[in-house]
């Protein structure tokens, strides 16, 4: 690869030098070189402007054809459908505007390229036109704003009383995640970084004297979620800013030292169901082919099986790029079984005595 890159660079430099010398040879011949565009330049660059429009369109089509499948795919949460719908409408709108305005811009640049003796139209103002293209964006944007704000407020209106939610704390530190479940009482015990005792394995600073904390369960490896049940995440960070990003669920919230932030969603697709999804299977298959190629080259790329993942999405230091936690969405019974196998905070403290 390095060799290839070096070659590309050398070739480009060579072409650049060759072009430069050629251009200077040419410019030496003509003594009346004014460096102001003449009719020939205008015509050539006019055509190139049109060519550039074609380039933009082709690049768009090519990108969709080649990379259209890399995007996230089917949402795995209740609000995800609504989110994707709003995204689709906005995207359709901006693509429409993009195609039309780029066409006008580059077509005019091509059509009206200058010629000696041509007269431009003195056209300084038109109130009606300007009113039209002020009002059309106003109306469209008003629609988008209303739709967007409606989605936003429903999403952000986190009601702990409604719909039997499960309360989970996401705890961020350089460079890993921990999850704390509120246990049988579904209330998280008080916690503060000042109460952390590493040697007693109280790694996230739960208050030992708070009875609500005794049945809390801390998971250091995986985040398990029951499907179809609303989850309210309470986020904390112990050192710097992090961001809990769960792209498949269209969910993200920063974790801020010194305060508790929250986000809520209802997972609707279990890990097993997502693995069986046809688009996902195609994606996984494609990626595994690439990983097999990597193995053939001696890389450490094992065969991959799809899993939901929690990523850190706020720059947090050296290993920011590998701060992740596996998310498992499963049926309620499986979830309960997993939960029972975990040690509660009270048990943990008792065994540490």
């Amino acid at each position: 690869m390095t060799a290839l890159l070096t070659i590309i660079v050398l070739v480009l430099v060579a072409i650049a030098i060759w072009q430069m010398t050629k251009i200077f040879e040419l410019s030496q011949v003509k003594t009346e070189q004014t460096e102001v565009a003449n009719d020939k330049d205008n015509r050539l660059n006019g055509y190139l402007m049109f060519g550039f429009l074609v380039f933009i369109y082709l690049l768009t089509i090519f990108s969709f054809w080649k990379w259209g499948s890399v995007v996230l795919g089917k949402p795995a949460s209740e609000h995800g459908g609504q989110y994707d719908n709003l995204m689709f409408i906005s995207m359709a709108l901006i693509f429409f505007v993009q195609i039309v305005t780029q066409a006008l811009l580059h077509y005019f640049a091509f059509k009206y390229h200058g010629k000696k003796g041509k007269k431009a139209l003195f056209y300084a103002d038109n109130d009606k036109l300007e009113a039209i293209w002020t009002i059309i964006p106003v109306i469209t944007l008003a629609g988008l704003i209303l739709y967007g704000l409606f989605t936003w407020t429903t999403l952000m209106d986190i009601d702990e009383e409604e719909g039997d939610p499960i309360i989970i704390e996401l705890y961020a530190q350089q460079f890993n995640w921990k999850a704390r479940y509120a246990g049988a009482d579904n209330v998280l015990g008080d916690a503060n970084v000042r109460l952390i005792e590493i040697d007693k394995n109280n790694v996230i600073g739960i208050d030992e004297s708070d009875p609500y904390g005794q049945d809390d369960v801390v998971s250091q490896s995986e985040l398990h979620l029951p499907v179809g049940r609303k989850v309210i995440f309470k986020m904390r960070s112990q050192d710097v800013l992090h961001s809990a990003y769960m792209p498949h669920f269209r969910a993200q919230m920063n974790c801020v030292p010194g305060m508790i932030t929250q986000f809520s969603f209802t997972p609707t697709v279990t890990t097993a169901e997502m693995r069986a999804d046809s688009d996902m299977q195609a994606k996984v298959q494609h990626i595994n082919e690439l990983r097999a190629e990597g193995r053939a080259k001696g890389l450490d790329t094992e065969t991959w099986e799809f899993d939901y993942v929690l990523l850190c999405n706020k720059i947090c230091g050296t290993s920011h790029y590998n701060m992740q936690m596996k998310i498992v969405v499963e049926e309620e019974e499986e979830f309960n079984k997993w939960m029972e196998a975990q040690q509660t905070f009270g048990e943990q403290m008792a065994s540490a005595q």
Binding site: I56, L72, Y83
Partner: protein, 607 residues
Amino acid sequence: MSATAVNAHAEDHAHDHGHHHKETFMTKYIFSQDHKMISKQYLITGLIMGAIGIAMSLLFRMQLAWPGESFKVFELLLGDWAPDGVMDPNIYLALVTIHGTIMVFFVLTAGLSGTFSNLLIPLQIGARDMASGFLNMVSYWLFFLSSVIMVISLFLEAGPAAAGWTIYPPLSALPQAQPGSGMGMTLWLVSMAIFIASSLLGSLNYIVTVLNLRTKGMSMTRLPLTIWAFFVTAIIGVVSFPVLLSAALLLIMDRSFGTSFFLSDIFIQGEVLHYQGGSPVLFEHLFWFLGHPEVYIVLLPALGITSEVIATNARKPIFGYRAMVASILAIAFLSTIVWGHHMFVSGMNPFLGSVFTFTTLLIAIPSAVKAFNYITTLWKGNLQMNPAMLFSIGLVSTFITGGLTGIILGDSALDINVHDTYFVVAHFHLVMGISALYGLFAGVYHWFPKMFGKMMNKNLGYAHFWITAVCAYGVFFPMHFVGMAGVPRRYYTNTFFPMFDDLTDVQVVMTVFAIIAGFAQLLFVFNFVRSIFYGPKAPQNPWSSTTLEWTTPVEHIHGNWPGEIPHVHRWAYDYSKTREDGEYVIPGQDFVPQTVPLQENEEELNH
């Protein structure tokens, strides 16, 4: 004091030119108080910083396309930070941080606004110089000092600042959190504090000059749009830069004096720190109170330059002059009340998020008006495809492409899943990075004859534009897909997430385009340097322009005009204006300079 009185004084002063002002090398080239020289100093310093910033981006793009590969160039340039030619994760973060800082502040704020505000404000409003030549000189030298400090920070053993150009605490506040948050961050903060002082001195000077030193007849509604843009930019700068200064000062106190403005409840490296009660969210508010207007501080001068260049080269008046001025004012006002859209998922109250969504989407309206007005200006024009014109049309194109995705990001609900992903990177690079760079290039190609008295080679200019234009889309269009796939920014490598493995080829495509674009800039550098020394001598008004700067002699003189300052009788956009009989106002010439009085029976437009 009224404007006329000042001018009368300035004119008196002008008569005794040549009698004094014995200029030495020091006062002419180094500590110059002449706005034309200062503008050249700004430009060249900005371009050097730009070369550093662009080179950095090529390095980290290579790491992204070929993660973990060993490159000789890494070993050569990064030394101990690239053991065996493999880039270290910390230096990756440092590179993206300094790339952002340099490009946003040193190139696109100082290099663009500093250069062209200095050059054009006195020349286009008809003034002998800035209101205070001395402050102007101080402003440049503070900028120079801050550049030097920023560059020095690159040579620290622990590396330069690496917390992202937004330097959010606690990461930036705690030396334990990452190596770059030690001396590197201290130098970053010192450099930026000096930079802010420089920017404020410059901006105050621009505002006073525009308000007080306009020549006779140059009413505010006859100002070229460049001046409107520089003027309003300076006002936004004065309003918002001091807030960044306060954020930087408070951060310095948290770092060095143990205060807790932005820090609370921190446990790091096995120990609890004493900080209590501060909030990083407060820093985010302060930072973005500047950070968002900063986008327009970068962009408005570029749009001003574009307005002027498009009108001149289309041989048509800019369409909707009043609407353009109103848009600049509306954008400036709105830009100061939208900062929260960077913080939708910061933990800020969601209700505030709703308000910021509303104001943010409003800003699309004046932006749309500007885009449509540019397009209409091209309609039925006689377009002279000079390199500056190409870059201006390119600017409108990237401004639209990048601006449209702002509708996605400005919507708080949609922002949730694309926040801090490559979608954002693609968006702002197109709408402010590439667009403002195009504005900078358009300005250099257009006013090079004014700055250096020489012409730049147009063929090299064409090659420069077309390669850059293709590559800019080649880098940033596919990048949207990377963002839609959920790839976070500032990841040293994506190989720890198998779900991103199918994006490797996109990364390679983007990097190859970036490298080609980077090398294409050498064409510009070569053309620039060569033309200064060997370019053909420029005529007085090479682009047949109406504005005042082209009435000054090609050779720079102190005080700009040898005799009296010309008076102004019309607006700046009388291109291709005809009389009732269809002949041009000045027969045989398709433009009427601002200094030409209204002709008989000529109607002055009510603009």
